[in-house]
Symmetry: C2
Subunit: 244 residues, 2 copies
């Protein structure tokens, strides 16, 4: 039998928003590996497990640890916030796994912030949409800019991940300006959600002109409506089509 | 206390891929309303509930039924496959809810096919991506075409929903041609998954040129890689950035 690494999407944080499949994978595991914040979100029932971690930006090392532990004959879970395959560790583990034929990789999907944040705001993504990260740690800003322009051109609703950090305090402002310079009208319906599925969840709706000047943090997911979106009784709604 | 309608994303089908939150909402409900196929996927534990349904294309009627039942003082769940807010019933219920101030709408997110299908294929969406439906029931084809062109321009990975049906047998072919005419090279790494999270799950990887001539059905989700995507040991992988 092959060694096994589960790559587990844990959803936004609370166990209530994990799937039964994800919980079972963690229960089956001897070792749970992940970014420290994610490990700290895991509840009591996993307290008997071995926890391993590396600091931020040491993702490659963290993935290597999974293979090292698996080779000892342990069942391993790598936890990712949200979905394992949306800005998560799945692709990096598959890349490293090229050289590890004796280890099986099993992806367990989870609720990504596009879904969990949308649920808090109303229904901002209820038609075709894009997910774009504003983090330029691993992606050149020119590529992010090109994607924002394309998303505006295609009249996509958008979920924006990593809209800001200490070093990138003005990135959301830059992104809003790019969108407004490419056909998104200043009154476009938008919203953002802080601390999804954790203590202090807070939703806000606004226009993109207002969003431009909002201070958001790295625990925020931003939603930009498409040209048909509306704010209805405080909820951000994108119509599914021409239904009504 | 307000009447309550839960709009529940049930994930791809099996209960194992629902969240605890979703299961609790259904257990709390007196009536469960949904498209017949989705109701038939619900397990034994909900057999004591009242089930209500309407045929396909009667979504507005189905949503009105939710409000009618809620007004009788019942707790209602509207079930949607995948996520409630991704081509689901959330926005239509919020629109109808404008005139129903005494009813509270609570969205419970679920695992959408972009996540669950990606998990089967490997990690095809592991960077910025678009979700596009090829169904022109509620959207003019010109808008779908415009979005495909924008997605190609932005070098997004893509999840394609509703790639085909009896009446739209050649839509995936048309979509692939549009992408290839807008900069997607014929060797672009792609994949598709049939019957995600149900009996007979099957994943395939191929190039977009091969995908063009594949026969897919309405229970298929298609994935188009971005320019960096690769097929590695039969898995479709899109890199998270410049990590390795």
């Amino acid at each position: 039998m092959k060694n096994r690494i589960y790559i587990v999407g844990m959803g936004p944080g609370e166990e209530d928003m994990m799937t039964a499949q994800a919980i079972r994978a963690l229960e089956e595991s001897d070792v749970i590996i992940g970014y420290p914040v994610y490990l700290s979100l895991l509840g009591e029932r996993f307290s008997g497990k071995e926890f391993l971690s590396t600091p931020m930006r040491q993702e490659t090392r963290r993935c290597q640890m999974c293979f090292e532990e698996a080779k000892k004959g342990k069942t391993v879970s790598m936890v990712c916030s949200g979905d394992a395959g949306i800005y998560g560790m799945a692709s990096l583990l598959f890349e490293l796994g090229k050289e590890e034929p004796e280890t099986e990789l099993v992806v367990i999907p989870g609720i990504t912030a596009a879904s969990s944040g949308a649920a808090v705001l109303g229904a901002p993504l209820n038609h075709d949409f894009c997910v774009i990260s504003l983090s330029d740690l691993l992606t050149p800003w020119e590529r992010i800019e090109k994607r924002l322009i394309a998303a505006a051109m295609g009249d996509f609703a958008m979920a924006i991940y990593n809209p800001s950090s200490h070093k990138r305090a003005d990135y959301l402002q830059k992104a809003c300006d790019i969108l407004m310079n490419n056909g998104v009208e200043p009154e476009r319906a938008c919203g953002y959600v802080e601390n999804i599925g954790r203590e202090g969840t807070k939703a806000h709706t606004c226009t993109i002109r207002e969003l431009r000047d909002c201070k958001v943090n790295m625990f925020t997911t931003v939603f930009i409506g498409n040209s048909q979106s509306e704010i209805v009784n405080g909820k951000l709604i994108t119509k599914r089509g021409y239904q009504i």
